[in-house]
Symmetry: C2
Subunit: 159 residues, 2 copies
Amino acid sequence: MKKVKVESLVLDKLNNSPVVILKVEGTKKILPIWIGACEASVIAMILENVSFERPLTHDLLLSMVEGLESKVEKVLINKIVDSTYYAKVILRDLTVTEEENEGYFLEFDARPSDAIILALKTNSPIYISNELYNTYTLQYDGESMDNDSEEFRKFIENL
Amino acid sequence: MKKVKVESLVLDKLNNSPVVILKVEGTKKILPIWIGACEASVIAMILENVSFERPLTHDLLLSMVEGLESKVEKVLINKIVDSTYYAKVILRDLTVTEEENEGYFLEFDARPSDAIILALKTNSPIYISNELYNTYTLQYDGESMDNDSEEFRKFIENL
């Protein structure tokens, strides 16, 4: 498992699809993940510190997780099948105190976009599997990847 | 409290905004609620029985609620403040067996769109408060409200 952070959000001009760029900590390796427009707009709001008065869907999810005495522990983007990335959100059950207890952690199948949003909103770590690291990351030696941000903002504003 | 059901999804042509139409059971009263495009696309998928291979955000939320031994009991659209509708999602804690226990039900502040989506996905009842019923519902004696659906589909497809 390799820890990653969200480097930026860019636009794939070929199909007008948003792409979130994950950067593997301590390396120049990046992993691009194509995501939906709705999830991209949420990630853009987080990255630009834009808040919204009413709870968005992920805020509602997190208030329920908290209300049910649990918390987001970490997220893992673990595999790719038929060009689709899969992720897991791992919750810690705060009502269980023994680490040995099998109920301590709960895993949920998720899209990477949702997993990344939950990690960003809770400051939880994001990991990718070694398989993804070895096979799907790209070397990136260029300049900042933010050069598409103006274009991306326009895309989001037109939703 | 009045029980409502989702009558249809239409498009407000004035500002190109989706509107979900709730109909009060046993009456000809409707309550229109303006919602976001992303939430509208989820409601449209539910109403048209379109399924998606990967879990959408509300599916992830519901799998967490279930994993944390809870379930959606009902949703209530309870008030309007500064032209914004407010809702509550009420969860039942399945680990608590005594109805008297104060932990039996948990209430979460939500946007009506999220609340409606969760109710539709779990076949849970949707209510509106008496205040909304008395002040904000409209009498509707016309034909089916589905006549905008083709237009609405085009709007959603262009997202």
